[in-house]
């Protein structure tokens, strides 16, 4: 029993390490995509577009690790919740990686045109989305429900900024039809950043479930079996 448990524990820790690695990669790509847009640096954007493989490989590797742990160790209770959470977090992180690519694509299209306006709210959204992502992963590592709840609260700010950006760009588009195309790309970028916040929220919810067995999704704190 002792040896088996240690083996399982080591596998679980390795799984956690790989998830964090994936989280770091996803967060970095979001940072580079937003930076490329703000600094009008197509080289950075190309880097985001061309280096999707490590995240995709980790996505598959992490799923395989989870499958093996479930099949070989039949975990229960907190261990089971940790692995189920890992499967879901893995999917969220892979989507964040995809969204970084989407941002880079929209940014490249945007940079073909003259700037519509000075970008203030979009980098702010980028900072918040990255911080939510970072905090959600920290809450996972530290089993910190308080931090996970903080991530859930931050999502409202991101949603508010997205709405604000849309309204502002709408006025630009109404005044100058030539700005429609680049403004739409900025709206898309804000939409992608808002989605990244949603994925960080999902991760935080998974952390709360993993630690406390409480399902807080859809604003309804219930026990999973209730």
């Amino acid at each position: 029993m002792e040896r088996v448990v240690r083996h399982f524990q080591e596998e679980l820790e390795a799984l956690q390490g790989r998830l964090l690695e994936m989280g770091g990669l996803a967060e970095e790509r979001v940072r580079l995509a937003v930076q490329g847009l703000v600094e009008r640096d197509t080289g950075l954007l190309d880097g985001v577009l061309q280096h999707d493989e490590p995240i995709n490989e980790l996505h598959i590797e992490i799923d395989n690790r989870c499958f093996k742990l479930l099949a070989l160790h039949q975990p229960v209770a907190t261990d089971l919740r940790a692995i189920v959470a890992a499967v879901k977090i893995n999917t969220d992180l892979e989507r964040v990686g995809d969204l970084a690519v989407n941002i880079a694509e929209a940014a490249k299209r945007y940079l073909v045109h003259p700037p519509v306006k000075q970008l203030i709210d979009i980098p702010r959204m980028g900072d918040i989305a990255q911080s939510m992502l970072r905090d959600s992963l920290d809450s996972f590592v530290r089993r910190d429900i308080g931090l996970a709840h903080q991530v859930l609260n931050e999502d409202d700010e991101l949603d508010g900024l997205k709405t604000q950006i849309f309204r502002e760009l709408l006025t630009f588009m109404l005044q100058a039809p030539a700005t429609v195309e680049p403004a739409l790309d900025l709206i898309l970028v804000s939409r992608h950043l808002e989605r990244i916040g949603d994925h960080a929220t999902n991760i935080a919810e998974d952390v709360i479930f993993m630690v406390s067995a409480l399902d807080v999704r859809h604003h309804a704190p219930t026990h999973p079996q209730a």
Binding site: R6, P75, V76, A77, T78, L80, A213, H223, Q225
Partner: protein
Amino acid sequence: MSSTARTIPSLASVASRQQAEPSDPVAPTKIEAESLDFFYGTTRALEGITLRIRTNVVTAFIGPSGCGKSTFLRTMNRMNDIIPGTRVTGGLRIDGHDIYAPGVDVVALRRRIGMVFQKSNPFPKSIFENIAYGLHVNGMAGSKADVAARVEESLRQAALWDEVKDRLQTSALALSGGQQQRLCIARALAIRPEVLLMDEPASALDPIATQRIEELIYDLKKTYTIVIVTHSMQQAARVSDYTAFFWLGRLVEYDRTDQIFTAPTEKLTEDYVTGRFG
């Protein structure tokens, strides 16, 4: 103990929170223990057990060796009476009647509360006689045809009939281990008990025989109240509706099995089911 093991909390922290009811009691109570203590001489093997076992469900008892789960199982049909120097205090009621009250007919009690042991123990007789014997001893044998019908019924209930119907007169000892265990279950069922106590019924069997016993338990709970002691956590998770976790002679947690194996309330339970100790 593993180097990764967490610290085991003190027993005192769980004793006061002992739970007599699972979180969603639906079926009526069949067996009810109240502040039950059990002593082997001066050694207290069970301490303050209070729990209610529901009718026609499977209740699993889990816990490390020596935690008292088998002792508690055996108090339910007074099997411990045969061990000298044992003593029970507190209440143990079946259908509301105290089974330790003076004047209780222990033989009649054991007829209602059947038992299956870890090691199959068929009599050195034919398959047929193994089952008919209990009927004769208990004065339940009617005509020959009645006995034959009851033997068939029991063997069918124990999912053994198709395998032995053509050789009922051969020795039970010629059966495989899994078949012998199912024969013992059939023998227990023949006298139509209300409760079936199973003390690690599959621990000596291979995976296929184990699966058959587990399927059998699943079928039998429609008719019987089943209490099973098992060392296999997976088995408890697979077959039982409710699980009670015992530790050092106390009941630590008692709840729906899915609850125990996904989100137990007590840290001790968590540590045990995840293999952190035991």
